[in-house]
């Protein structure tokens, strides 16, 4: 039984409508960004001149450029460290025999189910003990690795072709050289996925910077955005513009790395 052409057309139309409704709030963000004031939020019109004015206001004064810079430092810092450190640990756990391997793996698996909110208070106390309150270290280092990242790389590294690693050993290559020259290129999809997910997570991390960064000069975008309403005399359009600008980098990254994004999201859902 083949579905009729009319049935297909109807289904396509319905699905398109549903997706259009799902995108409505995204469009609302664009519309809000061009709203002149709080009484101008209900429509869906877009006023380019007003929006341009908001952009120049946003970048011309106040903390926004600083928040943007801080977010870039924070997100890139965490993503790079995560790729390097979780990559190394994940490979070691999968392919190398070393003392303490089982204990480390048990800790990683145990940590998988802990969420930052559960350890928020003591993690803050640890960072305070290290003297890292109000510093980039304090924001970055606690997220420099993750159980998810180590686990992801380890799962991926388990399926590396053994013959390749072995033949490199036969050729007399050192273990570190094998890791860098043979394993890392093969691990690239997992590492890219990890980079993307950690970048996006930090770009959107509100809770931790809110707790450890009290100086406005250190605020990344999420904290800065939440304070914008008090910084400028509340202008809904300006806040909307800030939200829109904040949403652009993740959307661009996500589209460029779409394959890795879906792979990361569906990890564990599709295959085990």
């Amino acid at each position: 039984m083949r579905p009729s052409r009319w049935g297909n057309a109807l289904r396509g139309t319905l699905l398109s409508l549903v997706v259009a409704v799902m995108l409505l709030p995204v469009y609302a963000m664009v519309a809000v960004a061009s709203a002149s004031d709080a009484t101008d939020l209900g429509g869906l019109g877009f006023d380019a001149a007003q929006f341009g004015e908001h952009l120049s206001l946003l970048f011309g004064q106040g903390g926004f450029p600083l928040y943007l810079r801080n977010s870039v430092i924070l997100s890139l810092g965490v993503a790079v460290l995560e790729v390097v450190l979780s990559g190394a640990a994940g490979y070691a756990l999968a392919q190398l025999a070393f003392p303490g391997r089982r204990v480390l793996f048990a800790v990683v698996v145990g940590t998988l189910s802990l969420s930052p909110i559960v350890v928020l208070v003591p993690m803050y106390l640890v960072v305070r003990q290290l003297g890292w309150i109000d510093s980039f270290q304090g924001m970055i280092v606690p997220f420099a690795m993750s159980a998810f990242g180590v686990f992801l790389v380890r799962q991926f590294a388990l399926s590396l072709p053994r013959e390749l690693l072995l033949s490199a050993r036969v050729d007399g290559a050192g273990e570190l050289r094998i890791f860098l020259r043979v394993a890392v290129p093969l691990l690239r999809p997992a590492l890219l996925t990890l980079f993307l997910l950690q970048f996006l997570a930090q770009w959107d991390n509100l809770l931790w910077p809110l707790v450890v960064a009290n100086k406005p000069g250190l605020w990344p975008l999420p904290v800065g955005l939440s304070q914008l309403q008090t910084e400028y005399d509340f202008s809904a359009g300006l806040v909307g513009t800030a939200a829109l600008v904040t949403a652009v980098p993740p959307l661009v990254l996500m589209f460029v790395l779409q394959r890795y994004y879906v792979a990361g999201l569906t990890l564990g859902g599709v295959k085990k």
């Binding site: 997706v19 709080a38 800790v107 955005l225 996500m254």
Partner: protein, 305 residues
């Protein structure tokens, strides 16, 4: 770990003591940062959270052991019970519709076709929007003269004070959360559906099974693993959700949206009662673990893998 297996000739030369030593050295080196990191930022804080939950600790002072006092106090704390109730309601009310709707959209969307390819890419946009920016937009949507009131005005309902009404505020958060999760769950379920073997569906269609029957008897059971995954991340995500309540309502009005993570944050960092906040964290952790286990049990029941 022996490296001599099934390899003829030179392989034997890389096995043995020298190789084991080289591996142990490289492995320790590569894993050392991880060992230090997990010890300092997860093992110690977790042990600390357990310990602090049995102490009275104001940020300025020294922790004093008080046994089960914090937990006793929790039982009689109306603020805690309110937060527990709000979190439970928020979780159920946002998880159920987002999964049902996502499934209803993902099944037709997972079919091949050019239009579906485009729609699948578009669905990712809401999923990839940062939650903080999303919350900003939704607070404008729920503003007095915002889009929500414009839309209900079209069907003749008068404007509502979405974020300042005790009965409405939580539902405003639920609407936003459902929307935000919908995109994400559609992507995950679509990927799961596309991974299912197409032969089974063709065979069922040839046998004359209707689409509803195919969905109930074949799609749902085959998709169980993916559904379980979505359910677990949905429930855990909703239970530790902090951002929407913090940005849209600050927990108000009158505690109507004060979810547990917000209560924990306010207790620990607003009132600096670290011991009591840790006890709340323990309750949240146990609740999340218990619910995950229940979900695994229910959805895995009768499953071979």
């Amino acid at each position: 770990m022996t490296l001599t297996v099934r390899l003829p000739g030179p392989a034997t030369t890389v096995s043995g003591r020298g190789q084991r030593w080289a591996e142990a050295r490289a492995g320790s080196l590569l894993a050392l940062p991880a060992a230090v990191y997990f010890l300092v930022f997860w093992v110690v804080p977790f042990a600390g959270a357990v310990w602090l939950s049995f102490t009275d600790y104001e940020l300025a002072g020294v922790p004093a052991w008080t046994g089960l006092d914090n937990y006793h106090r929790l039982l009689g704390d109306p603020g805690f019970w309110n937060s527990a109730r709000v979190t439970a309601l928020y979780t159920v009310a946002s998880v159920v519709p987002s999964i049902v709707l996502a499934l209803a959209i993902a099944v037709p969307l997972s079919r091949p076709g050019r239009l579906n390819g485009v729609l699948r890419a578009l669905v990712m946009i809401p999923a990839a929007m940062p939650l903080v920016a999303t919350s900003m937009v939704w607070s404008a949507i729920f503003a007095d003269e915002g889009l929500a009131n414009t839309l209900i005005g079209l069907v003749g309902i008068g404007p509502q004070p979405w974020l300042t009404d005790e009965r409405l505020a939580l539902w405003a958060l639920v609407i936003m959360t459902t929307w935000k999760h919908l995109g994400l769950f559609v992507i995950i379920l679509t990927a799961g559906l596309q991974g299912l073997p197409s032969g089974v569906f063709e065979a069922a269609a040839i046998d004359g099974a209707g689409p509803l029957r195919i969905f109930a008897r074949i799609t749902l059971p085959l998709l169980r693993r993916t559904l379980l995954f979505v359910l677990v991340i949905a429930v855990i995500g909703a239970m530790q959700s902090f951002v929407p309540a913090f940005l849209l309502t600050k927990g108000g009005p009158a505690g109507a949206t004060e979810v547990l993570p917000l209560y924990l944050w306010a207790t620990g960092f607003g009132f600096e009662r670290m011991g009591y906040a840790s006890a709340i964290a323990m309750v949240l952790l146990v609740a999340m673990l218990a619910l995950s286990l229940v979900q695994f049990g229910v959805l895995r029941g009768g499953d071979d893998g």
